[in-house]
């Protein structure tokens, strides 16, 4: 056996000195410190702890400390303490601890097992800090968040209600025109009413994509084409580069394609076709292969096509193909 044999009285002196050093260190720590033995009972609280609770060491020892824990937190605290203690694992928990002035303060308690030099389990050390201000701030933040979320939900509900009413009113308008058309005996007038209904419906279909709750203000051109094509049976193949359109550009497409669906069909194919290509400097070229003869002769068609060009903020070439170069996206 190597090493020096230390007499028992000297060993006790060393232990006592170690304990004194620990207590001196703990009493000067800027946090509240506690210690428990292998039997789970507390055998030490430092000065900051005793100053905080305003109680004596004797009152706190053993399970005395639990008298200061808020009744609503005590069972949870003991459960964590006992459970982690039995597993010899670290724990971190918060609870309300009564201060010397009677006010309960939130503390964060971190506990960790400690072992003797020979490796045997000796108990737990723990340190606590006052986190009341942090808790209050957190509660205020959560309340503010709940208020904001409530306001957003209300706004969303209001927006959905408005969208519903707008769409329903759109439908009432279309129904009125449809009823007038059903009872119209003059075929020309009837045709005009049906044409008017299609125009309104197309603009409504395009705008519906942009005026959705939670939807972005710009929409993929493919989505716009899909929505419009459902109402345009004579619209032939569509080829497009991925491009985002804003509500004005979507409306312009609805107007253009709507007018061409009646007037621009190419006799050979019975359809008209669309291409949307990105070109230089973030711009896009819309080309529609179609017959423009009828379009030029019909003044209302020509006027609506001009409105579409205005919405795209670019000059429109009314040849075959009809083409226009514009700047896509919500910034235009």
């Amino acid at each position: 056996v190597s090493g020096t044999i230390v007499p028992s009285t000297q060993r006790e002196d060393i232990v006592e000195e170690g304990e004194r050093n620990f207590r001196e260190l703990a009493d000067n720590a800027p946090v509240m410190v506690w210690r428990s033995g292998p039997d789970k009972l507390c055998d030490f609280f430092n000065e900051p702890w005793l100053r905080f609770t305003g109680r004596s060491m004797e009152q706190e020892l053993g399970n005395g400390w639990a008298e200061g824990v808020h009744a609503d937190d005590l069972n949870r605290c003991l459960a964590i303490y006992i459970d982690q203690f039995d597993r010899r694992e670290e724990f971190s928990m918060d609870y309300r601890l009564r201060r010397h002035d009677g006010e309960y303060r939130w503390v964060l308690d971190n506990g960790r097992p400690y072992y003797r030099a020979d490796g045997s389990f000796a108990g737990y050390f723990g340190s606590c800090i006052d986190i009341t201000e942090r808790k209050v701030e957190q509660a205020e933040l959560e309340e503010a968040l709940a208020t904001t979320q409530g306001a957003l939900r209300e706004k969303d509900a209001l927006l959905q209600e408005l969208q519903h009413r707008v769409r329903n009113n759109f439908q009432i308008m279309l129904s009125l025109i449809s009823i007038a058309s059903e009872y119209q005996t003059d075929p020309v007038a009837r045709e005009q009413l049906q044409q008017l209904q299609k125009r309104i419906h197309l603009v409504g279909s395009a705008q519906r994509l942009f005026h959705r709750s939670g939807a972005p203000m710009d929409v993929s051109c493919r989505e716009v084409f899909r929505a419009l094509a459902e109402a345009l049976p004579k619209l032939g193949p569509i080829q497009c580069d991925e491009t985002r359109l804003d509500v004005n550009q979507g409306t312009a497409l609805a107007l253009l394609l709507g007018e061409l669906s009646e007037k621009g069909v190419v006799p050979a194919s019975g359809t008209y076709t669309v291409q949307l290509r990105t070109v230089e400097s973030g711009r896009a070229r819309l080309s529609i292969s179609c017959n423009t003869d009828k379009l030029r002769r019909d003044k209302s068609c020509a006027a609506i096509v001009n409105v579409a060009a205005g919405l795209l903020d670019a000059p429109l070439v009314l040849n075959n193909p009809v083409s226009i170069i514009f700047r896509p996206g919500a910034a235009s």
Binding site: S178, E230, D241
Partner: protein, 156 residues
């Protein structure tokens, strides 16, 4: 920016998977005069629907403005199809009525609504509807949706 691609349009209910004789039988069935119930709280919209349905050769067997009235008329008249708005007068909506009518009478509804948010669409699916037409729609698209409802065999 991705390369150019074709925009493929969503196909509606079709008869591609059927034998020609079955497809013809369904098309023919779709053209048979049918009995339809209109459930809509806007009178102008229900009047237009009535005109369109009648012009297609079908018969309107009743009009209801609330979910309770819809269930009552459907129980009495046993229509072939219910044209169902979602927002109605009263505490229950068109989805509640459509589910009840589907479960108790086996009759499908064609939803016609301005609501197309995901939650509403998911709820509407529980009624196993014959279709969903979003407002605003045209006379032609309503006629087409009714034709498809019968052709697809959801409403018999």
């Amino acid at each position: 920016m991705t390369g150019a691609t074709d925009v493929h349009l969503a196909a509606g209910p079709h008869n591609d998977d059927l034998k020609p004789s079955q497809a013809r039988a369904r098309e023919s069935a779709a053209l048979q005069p049918r009995r339809i119930l209109i459930v809509e709280d806007e009178l102008l919209i229900s009047l237009e629907a009535e005109l369109i349905i009648t012009s297609l050769g079908h018969q309107v067997v009743g009009m209801a403005r609330s979910a309770d009235a819809a269930v009552e008329v459907a129980s009495r008249e046993r229509p072939d199809l219910v044209l169902m708005d979602i927002r109605l007068e009263g505490p229950s909506d068109g989805i509640d009525a459509a589910v009840k009518i589907r479960n108790t009478l086996g009759i499908a509804s064609l939803f016609v609504s301005a609501h197309d948010d995901p939650q509403t669409m998911a709820r509407a699916a529980t009624a196993t509807p014959a279709g969903f037409l979003i407002k605003p729609y045209t006379a032609a698209s309503l006629g087409e949706a009714i034709r498809k409802a019968f052709t697809a065999g959801q409403a018999d």
